[in-house]
Symmetry: C2
Subunit: 327 residues, 2 copies
């Protein structure tokens, strides 16, 4: 049997759990250890035989792990963990604070380059696969416009905002791409669209007993930045229905490049995702890029990379000759 | 001003014309010469200042052209031209005889490697972008099925078959992806579908005066391999309508990967193209990959490549730091 790529997971929230599941689908990979700040018993990991260790012990695994998949958050975990782990391991992460990507890239690149490691940052679907599709389709159709729509999916920030309103017991918000806007773009019309033209917001709320529902609905719909500029609908439901129907984490979206070749012909490139579980899909993307990080390092291609630097062959388990025969 | 990438075109049919148009949209490129077997006057090229030369003169342009875009056909031109031009130039081509790609790759690779050139073969959308999307989405969702649908678009082979029937003056065939099949796949059902389950065939026919239309329709619908297994519709139209409405070359298609992550969640990745002009779009893809061929050669990455070997950064005109800040 071929040797397996040895993977470690840092951070075991929804994303880390997803990576554990994704590795099980990859015969060429093996999960060696999970590193977490929390107590092993509290994590609920799927495979109880996997050692769970405090993050401080990670360094001891330098020779036992080929790629460390960093599953912490972009706000507080990764700015520190990214450059730190890049000194000891090849890494993959899903850093997604758009405005800070160049500075995060520099920090990780410095650490990885100095220590001969390969790190792929900002992996996932946006940033990630969507970035890749935007770059490729803009290169092919330089005269055109790119549209990104998000949803249908849960927005954590908007759900939190609903839950802070007086009288709300539970609440969730789905961002929904506007069908009218998508239809217009697919027709090749290339309209100018704001983010609120492109999206609607649908809220499901469980009200406290005796709460004023009209007041809650108005508080949501008039909330500046979050809801005011959007077509927003509010549904009041029972706590039972809420638990039954709204505990999943679906998401998705569309990237559409609408362009024109020089003979005045409209050309449309569309990429879309419809995900029943956002964290499990993002984890699957990270896992595929872990394979790429391992191979790039083997080839001596060290330093920080993004998805734009990775040729598709590095992601696939299949050998390149097979891929070529299946082109 | 930065130096432009100097491009040559070999073969000036619909694809070559499309490349001439595509280069006009790329400020970083310049068309140096067109090589053709036909007489310059007969080509109808857009920019009359571009020199048109016989293919035998191409070698004299070794120092004047950075990348040669080979626009000949896969059946008769490329098997010879691909390995030949790879000795003298970096090349890009759209070789699309699926079964022969590995052997074509070897021939071009040998020539390019021996002469220190970079050649990207089988560029376009299928093989090409569709191959890229199939490879990436299968790597991310190893447990799943991939579906490719073609259309709505003109099939040259099927149109020719119609025109060979007695009593047919003109005819065209559109391959149409089955909505029922696409809907089923998008639901995440992962059915087993044959190529005839996935596609329907729509024919527009101009009959000769006095021809037996019922007989023509039956001849089409019962033609083995081409139409028999498909849901086929035949419309008889006038020659005027035929010329007005059926002189375009639209095409397109869908690649859908329907997979399941290990938590039993359905995940759907979809890529689609809706093209008003198939040759102009394919030409735009070739032109973007010419930029990649030029840069790879500059980096010393020689030999034959396919789209699977090319990282997205090589396609974009924008510098990598800009791309990264726009992730």
């Amino acid at each position: 049997m071929e040797e397996q790529i040895r993977i470690g997971i840092v951070g075991y929230g929804n994303l880390g759990k997803g990576v554990e599941l994704a590795i099980k689908q990859c015969e060429d990979m093996q999960l060696v250890a999970i590193f977490s700040r929390r107590k092993p018993e509290s994590l609920g990991i799927f495979d109880k035989t996997i050692p769970v260790l405090p993050i401080s012990k990670a360094k001891e695994y330098q020779d036992k792990i080929d790629v460390m998949i960093l599953c912490g958050g972009s706000a507080r975990d990764l700015p520190e963990q990214g450059p730190f782990f890049a000194k000891f391991f090849n890494t993959v992460d899903s850093f997604d604070t758009h405005a800070k990507i160049p500075q995060y890239f520099e920090a990780v690149n410095q650490a990885a380059t100095a220590h001969g490691k390969t790190s792929i940052i900002s992996v996932g679907w946006d940033p990630g696969l969507f970035s890749l599709l935007r770059t490729i389709s803009e290169a092919i159709l330089p005269d055109g416009k790119t549209y990104t729509f998000w949803g249908k999916g849960v927005s954590q920030g908007h759900s939190d905002a609903i839950r802070r309103i007086e009288g709300v017991k539970a609440g969730i918000q789905y961002t929904i791409p506007s069908n009218e806007a998508i239809t217009l773009v697919r027709k090749g019309e290339r309209p100018n669209l704001t983010i609120s033209d492109k999206h609607q917001r649908e809220c499901f709320v469980v009200a406290e007993d005796g709460a004023d529902k009209a007041k809650i609905e108005s508080a949501i719909k008039t909330m500046p930045d979050y809801f005011l500029d959007y077509k927003t609908t509010v549904h009041f439901i029972s706590e039972t229905e809420f638990k039954e129907k709204h505990s999943q984490m679906p998401h998705g979206g569309f990237v559409i490049r609408s362009g024109q070749t020089n003979g005045n012909n409209n050309q449309l490139v569309e990429f879309s995702l419809k995900l029943s579980s956002n964290p499990e899909f993002t984890a699957s993307v990270l896992t595929a890029y872990a394979r790429a990080a391992y191979r790039l390092k083997q080839e001596g291609q060290i330093g920080a990379k993004t998805v734009l630097d990775i040729a598709p062959v590095y992601l696939a388990k299949k050998p390149v000759t097979t891929l070529r025969s299946e082109l």
